[in-house]
Symmetry: C2
Subunit: 238 residues, 2 copies
């Protein structure tokens, strides 16, 4: 039982996003029988305090919960950690500092997916939580690699993106589609050739309506992280 | 962090079924925000030897793998175990004997769902792996509660049900739909008023095609086990 690479998934943020990650991890793996799939442990703890609020002074700190989950995944025998929550990567350095397991960074996964889709540079849109945008989790890393990020304006964040993310966390995906599609298409109108969905609730909302209504391709960070995770797992089989 | 009930999910059998279980666990939970969802740990180990073959003499025994997963879920702090694989319940007594955690029995979940759907008795169809049928996991329990089970014939098992289950495990859901729908409708023609999908790959195959073509309602054992799991988790909140 010792030789395979077991993926640790620190999830529950939200739980639908991490369940969907497990689905995509399975569907994107080349497999002709059950035993070809990637062994994984999903730690789905939706009690982790809100990450966007956690970046504000005086609000509940998610870090102890994140470290507790990583310790649990380590104890379960996992060899690397994937975290299908973009905002949680605001604590990436603190998490990586306390763990000898590699944490697969979701922004690296997103940039790999931009290249896979043939978007080697230029102007792209970025949709994410207010905290992910404010921490500049994506903007600086992408600028260093030749992309320029357009982000929604404050009114769009408050009126469209924020409420849509909350709707997905409350199982109301149908309510999330229209506001998210409006922002994708506004970013396209402003010049984005692709839009990175830098919050794992956003692709779940956009999947609740017609994809043909979106004017540019998107980077689904659930799928991107699943692809990076599969590459890590399969590399261990050589 | 100590007061909530954490669900342990012994999965990977197959991995798509347990990922789908996590999705349904989330979608069927009444939640208005992320923190309302059920904390859970999914142990998804697709390396567990095939359960149907494991019931044959001389084939690899899945039991040590099942016990290893249960021990891992116990160590992670889980308070009960759900196993979204019907055939694995052929080792239920052995698993329960070594664990102080309650294991929520998938056949009990299926009978609760039959009643929820208003099927209080009468003739029902049962689709499952050859091992689940041969072990009579469902037939005797259902007979004791007033249902009579019709099962596919040997030719249908070899030609339709078995290959369809293997197709889902290899991510080929579209190939699984037609053979499974043919068996559902043949059981209906033979007098079944409802069909229990007693293998967690079967609902995934049937979801790949038109539901309207199925002549009777079905009991999805992924959903049934998710409902039972949510009831267990919410009972701990009072």
């Amino acid at each position: 039982m010792e030789d395979a690479r077991i993926l640790g998934v620190l999830g529950g943020m939200g739980p639908l996003a991490s369940a969907h990650f497990m689905l995509r991890l399975t569907l994107l793996t080349p497999a002709t029988r059950e035993q070809d799939h990637v062994p994984a442990v999903l730690w789905s703890d939706p009690r982790v305090p809100d990450r966007t609020r956690g970046k504000q002074v005086g609000k509940a700190d998610p870090l102890p919960w994140l470290l507790h989950g990583i310790a649990g995944l380590r104890q379960a025998g996992c060899g690397a950690i994937a975290i299908p929550c973009n905002t949680a990567h605001g604590w990436y350095e603190e998490m990586q500092a306390t763990s000898d397991l590699p944490i697969l960074h979701i922004v690296d996964a997103a940039t790999a997916d931009l290249r896979r889709q043939g978007v080697a540079g230029g102007t792209i849109g970025l949709m994410a939580t207010a905290a992910t945008l404010k921490m500049r989790l994506y903007q600086d890393r992408l600028a260093a690699q030749g992309w320029t990020c357009l982000i929604p304006n404050d009114s769009q964040m408050a009126r469209l993106v924020g409420p849509a993310i909350a709707a997905v966390k409350a199982n109301r995906m149908a309510d999330a589609y229209a506001p998210l599609a409006e922002v994708v298409n506004d970013l396209a109108a402003r010049g984005a050739v692709s839009v990175v969905l830098g919050c794992t609730e956003i692709p779940l909302g956009l999947q609740a309506g017609p994809q043909a209504a979106l004017r540019v391709p998107v980077v689904d960070t659930i799928d991107a992280l699943a692809r990076t995770s599969i590459a890590w797992a399969l590399a261990g089989r050589r």
